[in-house]
Amino acid sequence: MGFKNYCFKKSLWVFHFGGASCNNCDIEILDCLTPRFDLERFGILLVGSIRHADVLLVNGIINHHDKDRLIEVYNQAPKPILVVAIGACGCTGGIFTDSYTFAGPVDKIIPVNAYVPGCPPKPEAIIAGIVKLAGG
């Protein structure tokens, strides 16, 4: 692992893209940043602008409205960018797979680097996913 890569993995800044989720996943993501789980000890920060992001967290299903915006946000991100699909909805569509608004799981729209399944995934699972991302 070179110096560049080491710095990158040690300072992952996260941008949160909430698709059409039921909001449980959003709350679990925010839980990770609270004192109990504290993702900042791995150097992870939540940033407001996609231009600063290293990780794009996507949760909830992507419906026809979200699809264009997700592609737009992904194209606006400075590369390299890691994409993480959070929750059953992000990974496969979950309970909304048969919905008429469903435009396909995240990995059909943009390339995904890690999946964190669960409905919603526990904060421990999200942390485990991110540590795997940072370690590998």
């Binding site: 080491y6 990158f8 504290d38 150097g43 940033v47 400075p78 590369k79």
Partner: protein
């Protein structure tokens, strides 16, 4: 010539100020984490952030607007901060520059980063960046006059000396200025001006990340944003250092005094961090009122007290 370059690039300029500032910004984040009962980032976190932005990330240029000015603005801001750092830190490390009136030059150099941010943000043609830069402009207008009064107070206090070296010497031969009523008032005024200059939380409306998503920095990425981070690290060191030079008799680098210097620096940064952690972001109108009314009042009272010798 060579020694000037050394001053600018290594000590006390770019390298020294940036490394110290990076550690101070880690200290700030660690204290913030401790205030919120978290563990906080590792010691080298600012360096990881900086090198990631500089070496790994792509720099995206705006399609509309002016890419050249967009890219030059961070360079100017880093340059201005480094120049101000050299002028502040040389007298602080007891190297006489022989430059009478450097306090006024420092005053102007310290505004260069803010102005470059405004120019860069406007060159990016992003509406949120425009909102951020208009707020930054109003913030500059509100705190700059107060900061001038603060400096005027210091100059009056040490008998019309305009250079930092004599001000520090005057304090080291008698007593630090903060040991008087007017000194305490000036300290309060100064620390709020620094808070606003660093855009820390009560005054972080230009880059409010939850509201206008980083405002003036919204379009910056990659190496350009790394330069902005560098500027922020340097400013995070030199502004507290300036306060220490003006009010708390500077640093002395011999024996036991080194520890004392470090403690003074950490105490000022701790005060800034605690203010930032115990306050909400205020509106720009409130910030203008805060400086134009209250801080100017404090500064004027301090000036009157100095006139009567308190």
């Amino acid at each position: 010539m060579a020694v000037n370059l050394f001053y600018f690039l290594v000590f006390p300029g770019l390298l020294f100020a940036a490394i110290t500032g990076a550690f101070l910004s880690w200290f700030d984040r660690k204290i913030t984490a401790m205030v919120q009962f978290r563990k906080g980032p590792p010691l080298l976190q600012p360096f990881y952030d900086f090198f990631k932005l500089l070496l790994v990330k792509e720099t995206i240029l705006p399609k509309q607007g002016s890419p050249l000015i967009f890219l030059l603005a961070p360079v100017f801001s880093a340059f201005g901060a480094t120049m101000a750092g050299v002028f502040i830190l040389l007298p602080l490390s007891n190297i006489a520059t022989g430059f009478r009136g450097d306090l006024l030059v420092i005053f102007y150099l310290l505004t260069i980063p803010s102005f470059s941010y405004i120019i860069g943000a406007l060159a990016s043609a992003n509406p949120l960046a425009a909102v951020g830069s208009s707020r930054e402009m109003k913030l500059i207008i509100s705190y700059e006059f107060t900061f001038l009064l603060f400096i005027a107070g210091i100059i009056m206090k040490c008998g019309q000396q305009f250079d930092l070296y004599s001000i520090i010497q005057a304090q080291q031969t008698s007593s630090p200025f903060i040991g008087s009523i007017s000194g305490v008032l000036l300290f309060i005024v100064g620390i709020f001006c620094i808070q606003a200059k660093l855009a820390l939380v009560p005054f972080d409306m230009p880059e409010a990340e939850t509201e206008i998503t980083e405002g003036i920095f919204i379009e910056y990425s990659g190496a350009a944003f790394a330069l902005i981070k560098l500027t922020k690290y340097i400013m995070f060191f030199i502004l507290p250092a300036l306060l220490i030079a003006l009010l708390m008799n500077g640093f002395r680098f011999n024996g036991f005094n080194i520890l004392w210097a470090v403690l003074k620096l950490l105490a000022v940064v701790l005060a800034l961090t605690l203010i930032r952690n115990t306050n909400p972001r205020i509106k720009i109108r409130q910030a203008i009122k805060f400086f134009a009314l209250w801080m100017n009042l404090f500064a004027v009272i301090a000036l009157v007290l100095i006139e009567f010798g308190y």
